[in-house]
Amino acid sequence: MTTKVVATLIRPGAMLPGTALVPVLKWGRVVMRALALGLLAFAIFGPLVNMLLWTVAESWYFPAKWPVRYGFAYWERVFSPRGNALESLFNSVVIAFSTVCLSLALAIPAGYAIARLRLPWRSVIMLLFLLPQAFPNLPVYINVARIFYDYGLNGTFTGVVLVHTVHGLVYAIWIATAAFAAVDPTLEEAARISGAGPLRSFFDVTLPLALPGLMASAIFVFLESLDEFTATFFVGAPQVNTLPLLLYTASGGGNYQIASITALILLVPSIAFMLLVERFLKADVLAKVGH
């Protein structure tokens, strides 16, 4: 009797040792996979959650693991008419919007010429547009600030918009070139054959077709300007105060609540762009970037 029970108990494993191991290995794999994804999720969302907690922590000190008191007192302070966050937000948006207008005004003709016309010294020109990406920007900003000082541009909106434009121009031109290159040239030729002038065929045919790519480049330049710290730090501060500068001063002063609320304001458009970028930048445009 007992031997029979023992025999049935060991039988499945005893018959084919390998098959008994398979589920164990499989479960081990599932656990490992869950653990790895969990760790990655903690590494990515941990810092974000920590920041969100600080935005609603009225008091939080060592060694308390969680905020001692929650509340929106700091939000009221940030958005009160006397707080300087609204002014910084307004400055940041005005500067970013002007940067987009100036960058596109420069990048649309340049991108069209690079994509469509037989440009002499094309590779040299492309290389020149690449340069700001190949050198560290900081030494350049230091000297821009010095030169702007002589022309009275330091600490002005115009000065900040100009440096932001140079920074965004590289991306704007790359994306605009790719967007124009992705438009079928025969459509423009068809418009020309039907009697439309060069300007009319550009504005009525090519530009509308390239618009989704140009929109992506506009949003990208807007975000780059909104988030820019180093150039504004040297050229704009202390007269022109933007959100990143406010974040830096608040954090430096140990006010983590104000710093975290400012960080959150800057974070929302960045995350929204990350989630939407694939809708704007279609695969056919992406494939042509940098060519």
Partner: protein, 276 residues
């Protein structure tokens, strides 16, 4: 107007902007680095090396280590996305890894400043899980904090490039190796990675150059030695108005990135030669 003149005419405004607000100040910084009150001299360079040699070395170590870790994480993420078989895990990973992609460096700095602090969420979680005694809580806000912030912020960009390149390689070679019984790790290291080397190098170079210009992260995480020379340059100007030494440090950072950028351009032109 013929095509050539029209083309130059259309490119001219953008080109002038780059020349006036990038090339001219860049030249200015080179001249200023080699000029003292007595004319041409290496004085500023000597002084910069004498004062900041530790930080120059640390800049190379901090940014080199960050670049290496970014490459490792990107290969791991891209590799799982290419060779992984569990659809749920693939969907989660694909959704998860991109979050920091467009988060600005200064925001990343602030996030890490709270997350890595002594009473930050990292230490608290380790203590709550019983993995660490409360008294052993470590403040990571030194050079390690700078490396962690750089890796956190920059990995999604390189991973996106690497995963894109991996998705476009010929599946046949992978299937053949799999049929012969090669493990996934071996397939990744011996078949997949060699085929996407170009994209990986481009991603690593762009990240290296980007990190060399970041001022906000070292200022927010740790502006004391050892830190990166961007923090030293800002300090030189804000505290002393010393443009000579600041520009000398600038020239040193340009030389460091120049070597790396040259490798990138060579790689990029070779790649274009193949695809054309």
């Amino acid at each position: 107007m013929n095509h050539r003149t029209l083309g130059l005419f259309l490119v001219a405004p953008a080109l002038a902007t780059i020349v006036a607000f990038f090339l001219y100040p860049l030249g200015y910084s080179l001249i200023s680095a080699f000029t003292t009150t007595s004319g041409f001299s290496f004085g500023n360079i000597h002084k910069a090396i004498e004062l900041y040699q530790n930080d120059i070395l640390f800049t190379v170590i901090i940014i080199g280590l960050s670049t290496a870790l970014i490459a490792l994480c990107s290969i791991a993420i891209g590799g799982y996305l290419t060779l992984g078989e569990n659809p749920a895990a693939l969907t989660i990973l694909n959704w998860l890894y991109r979050w920091p992609l467009f988060i600005p460096f200064i925001v990343a700095g602030q996030l890490m400043r709270t997350f890595l602090a002594k009473n930050g969420m990292l230490n608290n979680t380790l203590v709550s899980l019983g993995l660490m005694a409360p008294a052993d809580a470590v403040n990571f806000l030194d050079w390690r904090g700078i490396v962690i912030t750089f890796v956190w912020k920059q990995t999604p960009f390189v991973a996106l490039l690497v995963a894109g390149a991996m998705a476009s390689i010929d599946r046949g070679t992978i299937e053949a190796a799999r049929n012969l019984g090669a493990s996934r790790l071996r397939i990744l290291l011996e078949i997949v990675v060699p085929q996407i080397k170009a994209s990986l190098t481009v991603g690593m170079t762009l990240s290296f150059v980007t990190m060399m210009s970041v001022l906000s992260v070292p200022l927010m995480i740790n502006a004391q030695t050892p830190t990166t020379i961007t923090a030293n340059m800002a300090f030189r100007i804000n505290a002393y108005g010393d443009y000579g030494v600041a520009n000398a440090l600038g020239v040193i950072s340009i030389l460091l990135t120049g070597g790396v950028a040259w490798l990138y351009l060579r790689q990029a032109s070779r790649e274009k030669g193949i695809s054309a």
